[in-house]
Symmetry: C2
DNA sequence: GTCAGTGCAAAGCTTTTGCAGCGCG
DNA sequence: CGCGCTGCAAAAGCTTTGCACTGAC
């Protein structure tokens, strides 16, 4: 989904996955294509299931292996919610967002907040750690569920 | 570990666990006692293992059941790191902190930051969600590992 | 032609559930 | 002395690993 000046996320992902002596098989291409066209987080099993009926069935193992590769390259963000891992395409160095999960209906809402990012940046110095990444998860009730 | 004016966290936990028609068996007492004397996060399996050699062996199932109870009462905080759940005693309404995990050595460092809390509070209004809780996890390299 | 990638199936882990018996209140 | 709690073991998920085979380069 996200576009950059140099090319689409899908292109970046393909590059990452074919760098070195790596090769781009059908499974990797299929996973990347699906992820590129998706706006919300997906679980590994979801990805395999969605690909099952299409031109090429992809095994769960290949999904995990591809996601590991992309995650290491900083091209997918791993979000743990409710003990499960969800994956989402992100452009490294680009805008980055977090999620609010509704405890009632389970819906996931993405959001971004500069003040939050600033607070975390400031923290890095104070703690004396080299921050590579950070995850924020808000848990509560979404506007739809709060009314009932 | 945390103390309040009304009593220790252990007492609060015991109260929570015996409210209504609930009873405090040996397993619940043992888990609460262990958690009360621990300053860092523990996994469910860790808790069961530590209790194995003591006066009373506690089954993993009882550990999970006790943790669920305490979690629902807001007396333990669940932290997902690396796909596993870790548990930690917290005083509801008291100071509350988050964690930085070192990607190199796996060490977990607690921290608190008012600016971060303010940013999240401000977010609640803007998003239109009723925020019940929030998790923040910083991933990077701790000061010890960053040098090498 | 070589060797990385792939799907399937089996294994590994964490967490949940079922159950007979124990023991708290 | 009833009913909730407990430990054990089995089950249920999610994720990883092993392996023979396919197919990219």
């Amino acid at each position: 989904m996200p576009e950059t000046a140099e090319g689409s996320w899908a292109q970046l992902a393909l590059d990452a996955v074919t760098s070195g002596d790596r090769r781009a098989g059908a499974a990797r291409r299929a996973v990347i294509e699906l992820l590129a066209g998706e706006r919300c987080c997906l679980g590994a099993q979801d990805i395999a299931d969605r690909l099952r009926g299409t031109e090429h069935t992809v095994g769960v193992a290949s999904v995990y292996r591809t996601l590991d590769l992309l995650s290491a390259a900083g091209l997918v963000q791993r979000v743990y919610v409710g003990g499960r891992a969800l994956y989402e395409a992100v452009v490294p160095g680009g805008e980055h967002h977090h999620h609010a999960v509704c405890e009632r209906c389970g819906s996931l809402t993405p959001f971004e907040d500069p003040a939050l990012e600033r607070a975390i940046d400031g923290l890095a110095d104070r703690l004396g750690v080299r921050v590579q990444a950070h995850d924020v998860l808000i848990r509560g009730e979404c506007s739809g569920c709060a009314g009932s």
